[in-house]
Point group: C2
Chain length 188, copies 2
């Protein structure tokens, strides 16, 4: 819980009373490996701060292949922003790939925080745009790189993640087959 508060304070100020209010609206949830935090077809109505574990955002294409869009690890927020902000049913899944401990806020909790805490919206907006810009900046260069370079870039940016993510999921994130990734690994 302290990690969450530290994280928030990077983006704006909160006095002790406000910090307590935030804590009171949060709910700790444990999610087992392979469990879903958010599912296609449903409307996302909660946001999670990842206290422990790794999640991934994925969807299925028209050939039934499972595509991993990105991973979310400790001390980041997980939310299906598309569905959450438009209140349209989602088309993707947010799934735990390890056992996870999440700090969850419901839509209502967030609404109350927004109404009560001056500056809350500003904090949330900064976090939102920062994390989206990061995603764009991370994914976008990958298109121009070959598979090996993509893998090496991933290792460089997330050295601690590579060992905690099954090969098949990492391959799907990198946009290559599991076999190819295995071969790439061998040749490094």
């Amino acid at each position: 819980m302290e990690a969450l508060i530290d994280y928030l304070l990077q983006f704006g100020q909160l006095n002790q009373q406000q910090v307590d209010l935030v804590k009171s609206k949060a709910r700790v949830v444990d999610l087992k490996k392979d469990g879903y935090f958010s599912e296609a077809g449903k409307i996302a109505n909660q946001v999670a701060f990842v206290s422990d574990g790794i999640l991934r955002v994925c969807y299925y294409n028209n050939r039934g292949e499972e595509i991993t869009r990105y991973f979310i690890d400790e001390h980041n927020f997980a939310v299906d922003l598309n569905s959450f902000s438009t209140q349209i049913p989602s088309s993707e899944y947010i799934q735990a790939i390890t056992d996870c401990r999440l700090i969850v806020f419901s839509s209502e909790a967030l609404r109350e925080l927004s109404l009560t805490i001056i500056g809350w919206d500003g904090i949330i907006n900064k976090i939102t745009s920062k994390s989206l810009v990061e995603k764009v900046n991370r994914i976008s260069p990958m298109l121009a790189e070959d598979a090996k370079t993509r893998y090496l870039s991933f290792l460089e940016k997330f050295p601690h993640l590579a060992n905690r993510i099954p090969l098949s999921l990492l391959a799907s994130y990198l946009g290559i087959t599991q076999s190819s990734l295995s071969r790439i690994r061998r040749n490094i």
Copy 2:
């Protein structure tokens, strides 16, 4: 200018007085083909609404290759959000690929609007997160697709853009060589 106001009103309400204020802070700028709206090494201090023309966001990788991250066409905002919001020098360029007419706001103009118009920040935040989510959703699936599919998806999503963008830039956006794109085109 009306297109800008219409666009803004999709994301929140503005009364006539506020609309006039917004207009008074804007500046129409014509940018010639190949001209830069924002350059690597400089700190972005303006935001543009594209009234006419097409821009692209690009950068150079460590092999000196030019990579096109995405295109920005009519009735969208162009800004180097990374640099603009952190005030760190940029690492990418925003360049006109056709003659452009832009409606430009300086940082100061935006700051004044933010202070004067209740709800301005809300409008800006909605626009920001919507456009970032769109970018992620557009780029992310491309990783899992082969070049031909990427090209077809592009045609489907931006049928009016394909003819206005030089082959070389489109290829760099799709993450393939110009020759490959030319071959793909032939075989459709």
